[in-house]
Subunit: 246 residues, 2 copies
């Protein structure tokens, strides 16, 4: 919590949580908040802009801001990593590496990770679970420059993201996710302890660093009876988009 506008955004979130500002009610005017926190109107606007993009409050020119919802479920911020998400829900994340090998980058790998074709890239097949029950099969390809750091990780480590950050300072900053549904393959079925052809939620994603350099791409398949995804869209912040099949 470093900057003033982040502090104010957080105080407002908490105030909404403890129903100081009721859902459906109105937030104080910008000038009111500015006076109360002893900052300029611009700083207040930065704070409320954050809440607006989170969908907590609605905003229209001329009218006071309205509280739309209290904090969505619980977790909202730091849940890019499966392990972090599980911990935030009070459940234990487990992980197990089933197979791991270097293969020369295919044309597809090379394009997605911005590498030259043929460079050896690390393929990892991992099963992840909540409290021991398998819920996710992850097939990940890591860029050559990060592979050595991944290779050394304990096969049973619950959080790869965490270990990569501690080991190399790497931060996953951007992600592009393509979501669809597929029938479980024989291998999926065995690893997740379900029947073949059961529906799975597939998320194919590319994760990049702050500089926009791709780190990994992954095909994740979730047991759809255990995990779903939630997306919030608002006017001017259209994170969710449809795509036709290639």
């Amino acid at each position: 919590m470093s900057t003033r506008h982040e502090e104010i955004a957080d105080e407002l979130r908490q105030a909404i949580d403890r129903e100081e500002y009721a859902v459906g009610g109105r937030l104080p005017a910008e000038t009111e908040l500015a006076a109360r926190y002893g900052v300029s109107r611009g700083t207040v606007r930065q704070a409320v802009a954050a809440l607006t993009s989170e969908g907590l409050i609605g905003s229209r020119q001329g009218a006071r801001r309205v509280v739309l919802a209290s904090r969505r479920s619980q977790s909202f911020a730091e849940l890019r990593s499966f392990a972090q998400w599980a911990r935030a829900m009070g459940r234990e994340a487990t992980g197990r590496v089933v197979a791991q090998e270097y293969l020369p980058a295919s044309a597809q790998d090379a394009a997605r990770l911005q590498l030259r074709p043929g460079v050896p890239v690390l393929h990892v097949l991992r099963v992840r679970g909540l409290d021991g029950e398998p819920v996710l099969v992850e097939r990940t390809v890591y860029a050559d420059w990060i592979s050595p750091a991944v290779e050394g990780i304990d096969p049973d480590a619950p959080s790869v993201t965490q270990l990569l950050f501690e080991g190399t300072g790497l931060v996953f900053a951007y992600g592009e996710h393509v979501i669809d549904a597929v029938a479980a393959s024989a291998q999926d079925a065995e690893l997740l302890d379900i029947r073949r052809t059961n529906p799975l939620l597939r998320v194919r994603r590319v994760t990049t660093t702050r500089e926009g350099r791709p780190v990994e791409w992954s095909d994740d398949r979730y047991r759809s009876d255990a995990v779903s995804f939630s997306v919030h869209n608002s006017i001017g912040n259209n994170a969710l988009a449809r795509k036709t099949a290639e």
Copy 2:
């Protein structure tokens, strides 16, 4: 295109599209752009903030902004509506109402639409297609105060959103989407011309007005061989969240 910062954002998007600023290259400094467009630094910052949240450019304090990608696929902005999306891709959206009836609101309907239980709400079962091929089954429940306007709509109308806007001025401003995978039911299979138990991508969504008033909630099932969804996440803009099954 009314405000100056929107204009500048658009010019930058176009400049990136025509590779004036190459992917991987650097954007001019804020002061540079401010001078070039004859505006203050604050206005330039509003413009580049839009591109950052779209994932087109990356930003780190101290370093020049980097171009991460050219415009994502094509459509980005105005694709909340199925019909608008289809048109933007040069395909024709079709729609057909299979069934339509008023039922008293269940406790679930009432909670999601913020109505009193028992109020008659309009249930509509609709099949939608691209160029005649069915790709989507939509089971929608409309709030009582908008139902009359929906009821009057031509059963074969391609765009309900458009007609509602023209008829009542209603704008869909916010949406909460929960995504998972399900096996096709017998009815789904018949309507979509696929086999039962084939995997479908299910999107359950609640759409609200600018004031945060829920308008409709819907269970949409997409043929996963025809349509997928794409979500862009960035640091500080975490639209995508996992959820456990209820």
